[in-house]
């Protein structure tokens, strides 16, 4: 009963809200209303009235005021329906273009030794959450900390089956516009994680923006709690109270409006909350490294060269109001159509033939220099992406480990985040871009999947970690369930767990454990392992941090790659996972690159003699030129003599 504020029903508000809901319900509101626009490069000052989800204006004086709703508040002037179809929010839309594989959600469970890529986009190698029985509710609990809202957070309110959860108590996890568009750090993105633990979803935008505090926790409400009767809690001490929003009156002006410090183009720091990558472990140069050792300090990093030059993420990763954010790879589609704005590396620096704008066809966008690449054979531009030489950690003889915001919760304060924290992600791994055969080589981050599953007729179906725990009995339950102090699985434990699982297996189903690029299963009571398509790593291209030209691969010469001992070709990638180190084999980089090892070795060896070849080539060409010049001169002399004789 949202319109009973202790003083009786506020009929005016109720009628207004009903009218608004009617208009919204009639559909097409966002498209039909002509939106207010300034058409200026100067930002519009957002001193605005806040509205709750029912469209009721919020007053700080109102003790029973609801949390502000970004869709109701921002939706007054912006087409929030269109925004909700954007890249950050359309994962559950089957019509949305998945594009090149990107970073998935990674389900991690240290106790069962699980690290598996999840995504509702159609990215090869990832599993859909529902394949493991993971509901949107669980997705929010596991990954909502780094989601700007919408998607899994609102599906239960869009008429879709959300598969359980305590949504009536938590409310939706709406798209929080300020998560990206806040001009300052006043908006605290880290609040989200804490509030999700409390199941206070609908209060997140208000609290993150520091508009006030929320008292109470939706987690404490009983499962049979009915929000419709929330107003009665004040009269019944035995009744559970829902969380209560307490606004900070100082935030509101005399007209009960709030100043939202908003930028159209978010600062890089806003993006970095979800998109930070951190090298974990030493990032030395061309050395074999101890992967478990501590990584470099933050101050030792230079960051991305574009940011150092004064650009921000959104200078390249742009979007229109539809929020189809440019991811920046070539032949990218936006909203189902080929992108015709020059925003990939090559397009910005050298121009794009397919760009609509004539100046974009010329290149040099935002002052991007067109590097000469002197002496670089053109084949490199066919066989490699720009990122292969310019992006990510400098390759070492053994691919290093990296940690990311989405996978490791970077951005949230934590004490025990060590280099060996799960999931273990390796980078850079050079392979055809996006895993497409014949595509140019690009650096990737890769995750070796590790999970328990049932194999039926050669096809592996993953188990949810909870199912694996149940199926394995006590074998896995006794293991530590800590991200900081996880214990690697050894072969004996895997065998015991598989034996326990086999006891309760259905007809035709064989329990297996996928890890280290192999499938582990029992054969005549022995643990055996073999290669399996389900065990191949999930890989996604990396593009940042971009290193300056002087620190790119090849800056020191051809032998940065073309020698018999270079990381680019002859490095290794450890097929590691939540298992003991002895179970993880070193895979040659050449296997990932899908290139001929003999040819690459020969080519590498040939560069030993290349300086000599050049010298000999120059000498021969010099001799040839000199001889030809001599004959030419002799011929000219003869011709002149001939003309002279004729003249006489």
């Amino acid at each position: 009963m949202p319109f009973m504020h202790g003083k009786g029903i506020d009929w005016a508000r109720a009628i207004a809200a009903c009218a608004l809901l009617f208009v919204l319900g009639a559909g097409g509101w966002c498209q039909e209303v002509e939106l207010l626009k300034t058409h200026s490069r100067s930002p519009y000052v957002h001193r605005i009235t806040l509205y709750d989800a029912e469209g009721v204006a919020i007053s700080p004086e109102d003790q029973a005021a609801k949390p502000y709703s970004p869709s109701a508040t921002c939706g007054k002037c912006h087409p929030v329906g269109a925004v909700a179809g954007g890249w950050h929010f359309n994962e559950l839309n089957p019509e949305a273009d998945s594009g090149r594989p990107g970073e998935p959600w990674i389900l991690v469970d240290p106790r069962t030794g699980t690290q598996i890529a999840l995504s509702d986009r159609h990215w090869p190698g990832s599993w859909r959450p529902e394949d493991l029985g993971i509901t949107p509710w669980e997705m929010i609990h596991r990954f909502g900390r780094h989601q700007p809202g919408g998607s899994y957070g609102t599906i239960a309110f869009g008429g879709e089956a959300a598969g359980g959860g305590r949504w009536p108590m938590s409310g939706p996890l709406e798209i929080d516009c300020m998560a990206c568009h806040a001009a300052t750090q006043e908006h605290d993105q880290a609040v989200r994680a804490r509030m999700i633990e409390e199941e206070n979803f609908k209060w997140i935008p208000s609290v993150a923006l520091n508009l006030g505090v929320v008292r109470g926790s939706a987690k404490d409400l009983p499962d049979d709690y009915d929000p419709e009767f929330a107003e009665f809690a004040a009269f019944d001490p035995n009744m559970a109270s829902p969380p209560n929003m307490e606004y900070d009156a100082d935030v509101f002006d005399l007209n009960e409006r709030v100043f939202f410090d908003i930028v159209r183009k978010p600062a890089a720091e806003r993006c970095y909350f979800c998109h930070t990558t951190r090298p974990a472990g030493p990032q030395g140069d061309f050395e074999a490294v101890d992967l478990d050792a501590a990584g470099p300090e933050r101050w030792e990093h230079d960051g991305d060269v574009h940011l150092a030059a004064g650009l921000t993420c959104a200078d390249c990763h742009r979007n229109g109001i539809d929020h189809h954010i440019v991811r920046g790879f070539e032949a990218e589609t936006l909203g189902g159509e080929l992108r015709t704005t020059a925003l990939s590396c090559r397009e910005c620096h050298y121009g794009s033939e397919i760009a609509d704008s004539p100046v974009e066809r010329m290149g040099g966008r935002l002052g991007a220099p067109a590097a000469d690449h002197k002496g670089m054979p053109l084949i490199h531009f066919e066989k490699l992406t720009c990122t292969a030489c310019h992006s990510g950690p400098m390759p070492q003889m053994q691919a290093g480990r990296v940690q990311t915001s989405l996978a490791h919760g970077l951005g949230l304060s934590e004490r025990g985040r060590s280099a060996d924290m799960l999931p273990l992600i390796a980078a850079p791994v050079f392979m055809p871009e996006g895993g497409i055969e014949g595509a140019p080589l690009a650096p990737h981050k890769i995750l070796w999947p590790a999970y328990w599953g049932w194999m039926r007729e050669g096809i592996v179906e993953p188990m949810h970690p909870d199912e694996a725990l149940r199926a394995a009995g006590q074998v896995l339950k006794d293991r530590p369930d800590s991200h900081e102090a996880w214990q690697p699985l050894d072969e004996a434990t895997i065998q015991l767990a598989l034996e326990a699982m086999a006891g309760g297996a259905e007809e035709g189903a064989e329990p297996v454990y996928i890890a280290n690029g192999n499938v582990y299963h029992l054969k005549a009571n022995e643990l055996v392992r073999s290669l399996h398509p389900s065990a191949v790593p999930y890989a996604w291209p990396l593009a940042h941090d971009v290193r300056p030209g002087a620190q790119s691969l090849g800056a020191r010469g051809c032998t940065d790659c073309h020698a018999p001992d270079t990381p680019f070709y002859f490095g290794t990638v450890i097929a590691e996972g939540p298992t003991t180190a002895s179970m993880a084999a070193a895979m040659p980089m050449l296997d990932f690159e899908q290139v001929d090892p003999t040819l690459t070795t020969l080519w590498g060896l040939s560069f030993k003699w290349r300086p000599l070849l050049k010298i000999v080539g120059f000498v021969l060409i010099g001799v040839l030129s000199a001889l030809l010049l001599a004959y030419l001169m002799a011929g000219l002399q003869r011709m002149l003599s001939f003309i002279g004789e004729r003249g006489e």
Binding site: K383, L620, I621, S625, L628
Partner: protein, 180 residues
């Protein structure tokens, strides 16, 4: 650019041929009754040159230009290898046959010359071989930028295609060198 370059090269070659034919006056035929002998060593070098051109055409023209894919891998290694061999052969042949292929009329004390049908394409081969070689070697230095790399590649390609004409011509003439 390809067309322009091709036209310029064809014009130069036409002038070269025209000039060559003109210098070979009728008097020469009368003053040159016999043809030079080609020793085994020279024939071997010549065979190597033909083999090089064949391999370069196969790797460069057939696998790269006609298919339209950039040359890489084994074809590229073969191309580089046989390219080097071709230049060596050209230098040796120029040293050995240069005087016998001069286009000017013979006189007392001049070596015995090949037939004009061998001499004219010989100089084409040398000129185009030089262009191919120079462009290839320059591309191996850190001098040309991307735009020049593209130009040099095009020049190299055009010269490489054009050289096939005098090579075939010369081969036929060489085969028939003892016939009158």
């Amino acid at each position: 650019m390809n067309t322009g370059l091709t036209i310029v090269l064809l014009l130069l070659l036409t002038l070269f041929i025209w000039g060559g034919i003109r210098f070979l006056g009728g008097r020469e035929r009368q003053t040159q009754p016999r043809r030079p002998r080609v020793g085994l060593g020279q024939a071997f070098i010549y065979s190597l040159m033909i083999l090089s051109v064949l391999m370069l055409a196969l790797t460069g023209l057939a696998l790269s230009t006609l298919v339209g894919k950039p040359m890489s891998g084994y074809p590229l290694m073969l191309h580089v290898g046989f390219g080097g061999l071709l230049i060596v052969c050209l230098v040796v042949l120029l040293m050995v046959w240069g005087d016998r292929c001069r286009l000017t009329v013979t006189g007392p004390g001049t070596p015995i010359r090949f037939r004009p049908a061998m001499r004219i394409p010989f100089w084409w081969i040398m000129a185009l071989g030089l262009v191919s070689g120079v462009t290839a070697v320059i591309m191996m230095t850190p001098l040309p930028n991307m735009a020049w790399m593209l130009r040099l590649t095009e020049i190299h390609r055009v010269a490489g295609i054009l050289i096939l004409v005098p090579v075939v011509w010369h081969l036929i003439a060489f085969w028939r060198r003892d016939r009158v």
